[in-house]
Symmetry: C2
Subunit: 157 residues, 2 copies
């Protein structure tokens, strides 16, 4: 790797830290207003990242017992952040997934509101917008390849 690339990468890491603080000028208040317990937030995160899951999977991912997992999901359902539905393949199972409200809440806690971003982007020049698009597309591609990709381990059969 050239010095030039290393400097570029260091620059971006610095930009990323700066952006992180800026995000949180937006996302921080959201987190502070959030009226969920940590166990409920973790459940929300699991549902957001693992898609529709059974109670047993929630219990395993959070490392808690079945009754606790059932209870935590129940609280999210009551809050309108998740829904329960029968697993059509095995009607003993209950599949839980986030509602749109739940999805949006996770997105806001993670990255701040979309309106906030839209405001920032609107202030940018056409050239900067184009550059950001190119750079982010490449970054997304790199992020897609880099981490382990369960989508590629196909269960075809």
């Amino acid at each position: 790797m050239t010095d030039r690339r290393e400097r570029s990468i260091a620059d971006i890491l610095e930009l990323q830290r700066t952006l992180g603080r800026a995000f949180h000028a937006a996302a921080g208040p959201h987190l502070l207003l959030l009226d969920l317990t940590m166990a409920q937030l973790k459940t929300l995160i699991v549902l957001a990242d693992e898609g529709p899951v059974s109670i047993g999977q929630v219990a395993e991912l959070l490392r808690v017992g079945l009754p606790t997992a059932s209870h935590l999901v129940d609280r999210l359902v009551r809050a309108g952040l998740a829904t329960r539905e029968e697993d059509p393949a095995d009607r003993r199972r209950t599949l839980t997934r986030l509602t749109p409200a739940g999805e949006e809440l996770v997105a806001r806690v993670r990255q701040g509101s979309q309106d906030q971003w839209r405001g920032w982007l609107s202030a940018m020049s056409d050239a900067d917008l184009a550059a950001l698009t190119q750079g982010l597309q490449a970054l997304v591609q790199a992020a897609r390849v880099g981490p382990a990709t369960p989508e590629l381990a196909i269960a075809e059969g």
Copy 2:
């Protein structure tokens, strides 16, 4: 605003959502392993965003009583995430600030690990790196100028 710009912005918002999910492939596990209560995490966030603050300020920002604020800071200090020091200007006051461990924890919860980012960036071409740098610099500038503040109520109890 032209259609072209609007489409660009919509593209970036979509990229941002995708990136958010990718970040969380890195940051999510950190959050799930986090052994703090929500009140403690909120206190950590306040300390990260507002710099060294007095107990009274913590109480005001979190909208809790003085004893509660004192107690929450105490738990972070015991966890090695924050320190207390006398305010040299008024020795009745206690100023609390994050330790390096506390700063790093907040950074990880917010954006995932720096190593993760470095790996992604290393996989990008020179041209994409340059574009990302330009785009992020402009975004940081826009975020610095216009920190609009959305006001939204969230969730249940």
